[in-house]
């Protein structure tokens, strides 16, 4: 096994494309090292991206935010401006693991680990975030929704890795929120997760909505029916009831050690309602 820590993306892409055997990216390492311990992936090369220039930066970009792939959850949480604009995304990232995990774990890693229960992914999907992928054939920008392919699988091609995630410019009256259900108050994997992003016109009518569900399918679900239930409403009770029904209908969960099908289906709706109200409040509409 080899450990490399290149300082440029080009160098990283070259190693990733040419290193013999399996090459694994080390960003925060909080999933990778656990998997290595359980003997799961036989990595031949560990490629640490934290020393690549720019990958630990949070930068303004075209009114939105470009977040380097090696930025930790703790760094995101300390960025007041970002938190002000995308509180739902940041709280989703900050929910991952403990304080110690936050010191290391990255949003890009959470995405590329491709767990159906990843907390940040529904929030990124709701935020319509875009992933910048670098690889042997250059750079491409991909919607977050298109990165996970299924449990543990991504659509990244050999030699590619995520260099940053872009959160679009916050528009007028808009707000996002993410809620998850866990049995304890901390330290658990989401049994259900739900993110809601809402935009309103000056009259307080919802003009746009994105609702995403986690841990209720093999990958994150963009619940378009649920979003339609909200658009054109003032997020009133009938709209919320429709949202709840649509989220429960969109959920395709399995039963496992963390929850039953019935539980996940029901709680998906419960969380959607609660998250929608928080998002509405954050957008400036009185909840």
């Amino acid at each position: 096994m080899h450990y490399v820590s290149p300082t440029t993306t080009d160098e990283a892409v070259r190693i990733l494309s040419s290193a013999p055997g399996a090459c694994r990216i080390v960003a925060g390492g909080t999933d990778l090292l656990v998997q290595m311990r359980s003997g799961m992936p036989e990595a031949d090369t560990l490629l640490d991206i934290k020393r690549i220039g720019g990958l630990r930066e949070i930068a303004r970009d075209d009114g939105g935010w470009r977040i380097g792939a090696a930025v930790s959850g703790a760094e995101l949480g300390e960025h007041a401006e970002l938190v002000g604009e995308w509180p739902g995304v940041v709280e989703a990232v900050n929910l991952i693991g403990s304080t110690q995990i936050q010191g290391r774990a990255t949003m890009a890693g959470n995405l590329c680990n491709a767990s159906p229960a990843a907390d940040s992914v529904p929030a990124l999907v709701a935020a319509n975030a875009v992933v910048r992928v670098v690889g042997p054939e250059g750079v491409r920008d991909v919607p977050v929704l298109d990165i996970p392919a299924g449990p543990g699988k991504t659509t990244l091609k050999r030699g590619e890795f995520v260099s940053s995630i872009y959160l679009p410019a916050k528009t007028g009256q808009s707000g996002d929120a993410y809620l998850r259900f866990i049995p304890r108050t901390e330290m658990d994997i989401a049994v259900v997760g739900c993110a809601v992003w809402l935009a309103f016109d000056a009259a307080g009518t919802c003009t746009e909505a994105r609702v995403a569900l986690g841990a209720v399918g093999p990958k994150v679900i963009l619940a378009e029916e649920a979003a339609r239930a909200l658009v054109g409403t003032r997020i009133d009770e009938p709209a919320l009831d429709a949202l709840v029904a649509a989220c429960s209908a969109a959920a395709r969960p399995i039963a496992d050690k963390r929850g039953t099908v019935a539980f996940r289906t029901h709680v998906a709706g419960v969380l959607a309602r609660r998250a929608a109200l928080i998002a509405k409040n954050r957008a400036g509409g009185a909840a």
Binding site: S38, P183, T185, D188, F263, V270
Partner: protein, 748 residues
């Protein structure tokens, strides 16, 4: 004489205060050495190969490829151990440490290697070829009791088991007195209900670890984290067929045990690897191994029938308890059956317990083994009856409370006990009358546990400068070195700081029983006091010789020998330090020691009160407030007594709400890690309030009762009662995980 009260009325100077613990600095600076913190020159790393199958016959094990790998110094299988171990229980321990004919659970050890590094050892494990013949398995207690269930063993059942039952039923236990049918006939209301609890793990943060060095002269040394290094010595010697005196065991600092370190797992294997390799071998379990292969407690299925009169008097109680204790006989169902109704004064009571084996890891003791699940069932039923009859649950318990003179449900008549006092304190406490909000509920429950005594040795040495060292043989799990130093200082009349207590290795003292059964503060404390008294007698003797007066004309008071009787005041008192300074001249070094089978341990009771809030939309439960009321007899170091109360309560909260062993259809453990085996974290909890009661134990010079275990007995029921009230639906299956609670709310 053993039958009389040993407790003296006295005013304590040190006992009851809160000094700093003697091992404190080491533990806050990282210097303390735990099981995995020791190393030896030339040390090898030992690792275990474990069965991935819940039940399989081991047809063959081929270790040749592993043995020939570079860096591998020894490979061990069951064939390396003695073929026959006479004691059946010890034979089971060996079989659990290294499988014989069959692998009996997912995680059962089947082979081990010692190699120059962990990486080499891991690679070597992959080269061991085990041929398994897969067998049908069973992990559920009720399923295992069906006559057609896959059988783990043949002909292992006690004579107590009726013919025709499943081969997995190992023993039947029955306790009680009176005529329950007559009792039920007098009831105004009879409640019958079934309860289930899932298996939980002790969850100590320190995985098992040891370092073994076996010399070619047949002498061996072992360093390990254990609740009883004398037990480790005796067990390993028996399993390895060696003499006890040739094995010296040193107890490391121990990172939690709660009963789970009262047996051996790695130690005999490490010794055997070291013997074969001719080098020291260190073995440290990973967390997944701890969950898969070390002592969870039993899971249970319990049916309760209780009759109650309109005024709250319990007219009869019956419980049938079925515990699976993993792959070998010995679940604590007997203890559950004895303790189920122990808090109550019942004319008619009967319990029947069934000990059942399943394809799960061999259960190990867990804090008041067997009692928490029994208390959950009985205390839930009493709570439900009280509600139905419109009675105050504390009043109902007070009305039925066992007190001095009550014939216990398990047989004997109670001496002075503190249950009633805990109930009265609970009733008067502001917690009981505090208002509750919507979706909130309050629960109470009582709990009982025995205390143990047993073999105990203490050697107390007076140094030439008048400081004191106490050597004892019980690993210090939660501050016992502090309490021993306190009792020695109290007895000698010297400052606490003048006494230092250490845990001696097995070569230094006689036999000591395990740190279990809440016995240490009681039994080692008793021996420490006796050792101090012996030293005082010797010091009085020395003073008498110096003063040239009769020995019995000298008394020990306030840390000094003083002439008494007709000689009173004729000589200035001689302090401990002054006597120590001339010890060489007056007969040689001064020591006191005590070797005793400490009998006369008391029993212990507690009442717990908890407020919970339920989220009716998700089934989430929040613990809002918690108060423990427990009798400590005499709290030697109240801070550590509180700590025992709080720790037990929180372990019980975990058991009640989220902790459980989850097995798949394939018989494999699905949550062998702290991520999905969910012990409570700091943000799950409020402060845990404690009220210490002191009803002296007549069997101890200071009135001490063990406090370590009782605190885990009431919380399962207390939490379940509180959640049931908050949710408006009775919860009978622990843990009350959110999916389970939400389903119950949905079904009401």
């Amino acid at each position: 004489m053993a039958l009389d009260s040993k407790t003296e009325a006295r005013k304590f100077k040190i006992v009851g205060t809160r000094p700093l613990r003697p091992d404190g600095i080491d533990k806050v600076t990282g210097r303390a050495r735990f099981g995995a913190d020791m190393s030896a020159p030339g040390m090898l790393v030992g690792l275990i190969l474990r069965s991935p199958h819940p039940h399989a016959r081991i047809r063959s094990i081929d270790t040749t490829r592993a043995e020939s790998m570079e860096g591998v110094h020894a490979v061990v299988t069951r064939a390396d151990f003695p073929a026959f171990v006479e004691d059946e229980a010890l034979a089971d321990v060996l079989d659990n440490c290294m499988a014989g004919e069959k692998a009996l659970y997912d995680g059962h050890a089947v082979a081990a290697v010692a190699a120059t590094s962990g990486a080499v050892a891991r690679a070597a494990l992959k080269l061991i070829e085990v041929e398994y013949e897969l067998l049908a398995h069973v992990t559920d207690v009720d399923e295992a009791m069906r006559p057609d269930a896959p059988a783990l063993h043949e002909d292992r059942a006690d004579e107590t088991v009726p013919a025709g039952m499943s081969d997995n039923v190992m023993a039947r236990h029955e306790f009680g007195h009176g005529d329950i049918d007559a009792g039920f006939a007098k009831a105004d209301r009879v409640l019958e209900r079934g309860y289930r609890t899932e298996a939980t793990h002790q969850g100590y943060i320190e995985p098992h670890a040891c370092l073994a060095t076996f010399g070619s002269d047949g002498q061996a040394d072992l360093w390990c984290c254990t609740q009883g290094h004398y037990m480790v010595r005796n067990t390993c010697a028996a399993i390895l067929g060696m003499e006890q005196g040739r094995l010296r065991v040193t107890a490391s600092e121990i990172g939690g045990g709660f009963g789970g370190k009262t047996t051996v797992f790695l130690e005999p294997v490490a010794l055997m690897l070291s013997k074969k390799a001719g080098r020291p071998v260190k073995m440290v379990m990973g967390r997944a191994e701890v969950f898969r292969a070390t002592g969870p407690t039993a899971s249970s299925s319990i049916d309760v029938r209780i009759g109650m009169a309109k005024d709250g008097r319990i007219t009869a109680g019956f419980a049938e308890l079925r515990y699976q204790g993993g792959a070998y006989p010995g679940s604590p169902v007997d203890m559950g059956s004895m303790s189920a109704f122990a808090p109550y004064d019942l004319e008619h009571v009967k319990t029947v317990g069934w000990d059942v084996v399943t394809n799960r890891p061999k259960q190990a003791a867990y804090r008041a083994p067997g009692a928490p699940m029994a208390a959950f069932a009985v205390e839930s039923a009493i709570d439900e009856l009280a509600r139905e009859l419109g009675l105050d649950p504390l009043e109902v318990r007070l009305k039925n409370a066992a007190r001095e003179g009550t014939r216990a449900s398990y047989g004997p008549t109670f001496p002075a006990i503190g249950l009633e006092a805990t109930l009265r304190k609970a009733k008067d406490h502001p917690h009981w009358s505090a208002p509750l909000g919507p979706n909130q509920g309050r629960g109470v429950a009582c709990g009982f546990w025995f205390n143990f005594g047993g073999d105990t040795c203490v050697s107390l040495n007076i140094t030439p400068d008048g400081t004191v060292t106490v050597s004892e043989g019980n690993p210090d799990i939660g501050g016992s070195r502090a309490s021993m130093s306190m009792m020695a200082a109290e007895e000698l009349g010297i400052p606490y700081e003048k006494v230092r207590t250490i845990i001696a290795d097995t070569g230094a003292l006689g036999q000591n029983d395990v740190t279990d059964g809440s016995r240490v503060t009681f039994a080692v404390g008793l021996a420490t006091i006796e050792a101090a008294r012996a030293a005082k007698r010797e010091m009085c003797k020395r003073a008498a010789r110096i003063w040239e007066i009769e020995e019995d004309a000298v008394v020990w008071e306030d840390g000094a020998a003083r002439p008494a009787g007709p000689n009173a005041g004729k000589h200035p008192p001689m302090s401990l330090a002054e006597i120590a300074a001339v010890a060489t001249n007056t007969g040689g070094p001064i020591a006191g020691h005590c070797e005793v089978n400490a009998e006369g341990a008391g029993v212990s009771f507690a009442t717990h009160m908890v407020d919970t809030e339920v989220d009716p939309e998700t089934g989430a439960v929040k613990i809002l407030r918690y108060t423990v009321f427990q009798d400590a007899g005499k709290a030697v170091h109240p801070a550590y007594v509180e700590g025992q109360f709080q720790g037990g309560a929180v372990q019980g909260i975990g058991w009640a709400l989220n902790e459980e062993y989850i097995y798949g259809e394939d018989g494999r453990l699905q949550n062998a890690g702290f991520l999905d085996y969910r012990i409570p974290v700091a943000s799950d909890l409020p402060m845990i309030d404690t009220v210490i009661l002191e009803i002296p134990n007549p069997g101890h010079p200071y009135g001490v009762r063990g406090v370590g275990e009782t605190s885990i007995v009431p919380p399962l029921a207390a939490v379940a009662n509180a959640v049931s009230h908050a949710a408006g639906v009775r919860l009978t299956h622990l843990p009350i995980s959110p999916p389970r609670l939400l389903a119950a709310i949905g079904a009401k």
